[in-house]
């Protein structure tokens, strides 16, 4: 009995000696699958650091960071100037992976569908409300389009996916920019709202005549038919991890700031609706936790990048990852 007690006590003591460093983060839901994979893999490399990430949404992550209740934040969209001013220190944006928004549709008789940005905007504005509209058939010669009503499906909840999608539509269509604009929640002219990527996926999957935007991973996992979108080079590109990484490579030409939007990027093979997701680092005196976040980022931007593809995220272009590694230090 005595032995057992001493063993127990020594166990507790030894656990305290190997005290874990707890690092708290909060923010975007979109990169949550890859982040949680990274954290669990990183634990094998450095078991004494424990990451606790709450996927409460980008807005919540930014709020928590400003309130200083977390060590790092995460957001799909760069912080607004107004929010930056509220923070006690300057905030650095570190892109971790890239995500793409794919446009899925449900027309059993149509196997392949091509659209350009203008037509897509007109559909989501409600100006084109039938699949047999001449503007759609002009882009799809040889395809017989059904005389069916178009049902637009969109996100009901505020979302980074909506922000990226509306960023693209605002960039490409003046009518969209003036009537709807860009944001995480919008005033939609038409359509029904479903909750979450999974909600939109379900609605598109079971209702014919629908068109909706979802994250790439959802379209691939659920075998939804996606629209080939026209990029700046004039090619019609199906959404893919490769096309997304190519759009990030265009950053060099845009002055290189990582917070610039990369929708409708120039270049061959580029898929036009994609964006970075960021980890937000406060620039302040280095605490133990902050140091661990930086260590983790060093790992995530090198070894971690190899794990992105199986989860349908696009890795950062190598040159950009290298530049970020320098900036973190």
């Amino acid at each position: 009995m005595k032995k057992l007690v001493t063993l127990f006590i020594s166990l507790i003591l030894s656990a305290q000696v190997m005290a874990t460093i707890k690092v708290n983060g909060a923010g975007a839901t979109f990169p949550y699958p890859i982040y949680s994979k990274w954290f669990s893999e990183y634990k094998k490399v450095k078991p004494e650091v424990q990451f606790n990430y709450q996927s409460i949404g980008s807005g919540g992550g930014i709020r928590q960071l400003i309130k200083q209740t977390v060590d790092f934040g995460a957001s799909d969209a760069p912080m607004k100037e107004k929010d930056k001013k509220k923070a006690a220190w300057p905030i650095k944006h570190i892109p971790t992976v890239l995500g793409a928004v794919s446009v899925a549709y449900n027309l059993p008789s149509v196997k392949k569908l091509k659209l350009d940005g203008q037509t897509l905007a007109s559909i989501f504005l409600g100006k084109i409300s039938n699949w047999s509209h001449p503007e759609i058939s002009k882009l799809n010669p040889g395809v017989t389009l059904p005389k069916e009503d178009i049902l637009v499906v969109r996100r009901a909840d505020g979302s980074g996916t909506t922000a990226i999608f509306s960023d693209y539509l605002s960039t490409i269509s003046k009518a969209w920019k003036s009537k709807v604009g860009q944001g995480k929640s919008l005033k939609w002219p038409v359509g029904i709202g479903s909750k979450g990527n999974e909600g939109v996926t379900a609605t598109v999957k079971q209702t014919t005549g629908t068109i909706g935007y979802i994250e790439l991973a959802y379209a691939l996992k659920n075998n939804l038919k996606t629209i080939a979108l026209k990029n700046q080079a004039g090619e019609f590109i199906q959404p893919s991890v490769k096309g997304v990484s190519l759009s990030a490579a265009s950053l060099k030409n845009k002055g290189g700031k990582v917070t610039t939007s990369i929708v409708n990027a120039p270049g061959k093979g580029v898929y036009p609706i994609s964006a970075f997701t960021y980890i937000l680092l406060p620039i302040k005196e280095e605490t133990v936790e902050l140091k661990e976040v930086k260590n983790f980022l060093n790992w995530a931007l090198t070894k971690g990048q190899g794990m992105t593809k199986e989860l349908h995220y696009a890795p950062l272009p190598k040159a950009l990852a290298k530049r970020m590694l320098k900036e973190i230090r």
Partner: protein, 334 residues
């Protein structure tokens, strides 16, 4: 109330003094009975006060966080039909409309069914069977609302689109409520789900109410030569009116605040339209949907304002229904 309690304490202390003189003191605790009662009284009183304080604190917090939106939009917020997060323009009328229309439709569907089920269980079934059937009805209440929502998305919405809508359009299509395109997701589907969710609430309360009607009264009606149906009408339903109203109010309370299941099937489009096939949005669903990613302060505050409005709506409707019940029970009682 307090006076009553105090007189009760006085009486009970008298009684305790009597007991005390007989068996000296309580052996387990070294308290006198008098002290025990006092401690009990204050303990229970503090719990009751805590509940009231919680309610007040909740409302105060809600108002505090809604203050920026209240200053910006004033009372016109409840009548504005523009909800545009990009432009920071907010009005709650579409959500008010969505909440009220789905809840009332659900009540219209659920009330006759629930009263019927309650009557059937109480008056027709044998006691053993009644216990089994009522168990099943009450089990519906235990289903989490997210499960209702999933069922709504995957089963009910396609059913409404493919089966119910064509029937309604061909029979009642001349009414504006049943016109326009249907995608299976909208006001009608949300109301159907809500109706299902509140049926167990209304049914079980109705059953309790029907049980309070004395058997003598029912037998008297039968003895006077009424049929079973007439007996139910005269001796059961009429005196239970206020009780049924109470049951409906409790059902309405659940319908007004229901969030997840509704958010999944209503289409979440802040628009006002006469057609029951069109999508809408409710106050609870918009809060749940937009709260996490609301990044402008005004947006967040407007959502809190919507929450405050929802509170007022439920409060008013509850009060109104209580007033009706109280009025009616006075009539029946007197």
């Amino acid at each position: 109330m307090i006076n009553e309690n105090e007189s009760f304490i006085e009486e009970s202390t008298k009684f305790n003094n009597l007991v005390d003189s007989n068996c000296t003191k309580s052996k387990v605790f070294n308290f006198s009975y008098q002290l025990q009662d006092k401690i009990n009284y204050y303990l229970i009183k503090s719990f009751a006060c805590l509940v009231i304080l919680l309610l007040i604190g909740l409302v105060a917090m809600l108002i505090y966080s809604a203050l920026p939106a209240m200053e910006e939009f004033g009372l016109g917020f409840a009548f504005g039909d523009d909800w545009n997060p990009v432009e920071d323009e907010f009005g709650a009328l579409p959500f008010l409309f969505g909440t009220l229309i789905t809840s009332f439709l659900a009540l219209m569907l659920a009330t006759p069914v629930s009263v019927g089920v309650a009557l059937f269980i109480n008056e027709v079934l044998s006691k053993k069977l009644a216990a089994v059937v009522s168990l099943f009805v009450e089990m519906i209440a235990a289903i989490p609302s997210i499960v209702f929502g999933l069922w709504g998305v995957f089963y009910l919405a396609p059913f409404v689109k493919e089966t119910l809508t064509p029937v309604l359009k061909s029979s009642l299509g001349f009414l504006p409520f049943f016109q326009g395109a249907s995608f299976g997701i909208g006001i009608l589907t949300a109301s159907l789900i809500l109706a299902l969710m509140i049926i167990p609430t209304i049914t079980s309360i109705c059953r309790i109410v029907f049980k309070t009607v004395p058997t003598l009264q029912k037998e008297a009606a039968l003895a006077l030569g009424s049929t079973r149906f007439e007996m139910i009408k005269i001796a059961l339903l009429r005196p239970s009116f206020s009780g049924i109203m109470g049951a409906i109010v409790l059902g309405l309370g659940r319908a007004l605040g229901e969030t997840m299941a509704v958010a999944m099937v209503i289409g979440n489009s802040p628009s006002i339209s006469a057609s029951l096939f069109s999508p809408a949005a409710t106050m609870a669903s918009v809060i749940a949907n937009e709260y996490t990613e609301a990044d402008s302060d005004l947006h967040l505050s407007a959502l809190c304002y919507v929450g405050f409005l929802l509170f007022i709506v439920t409060f008013t409707i509850n009060g109104l229904a209580r007033f009706i019940v109280w009025n009616q029970s006075k009539k029946v009682g007197g």
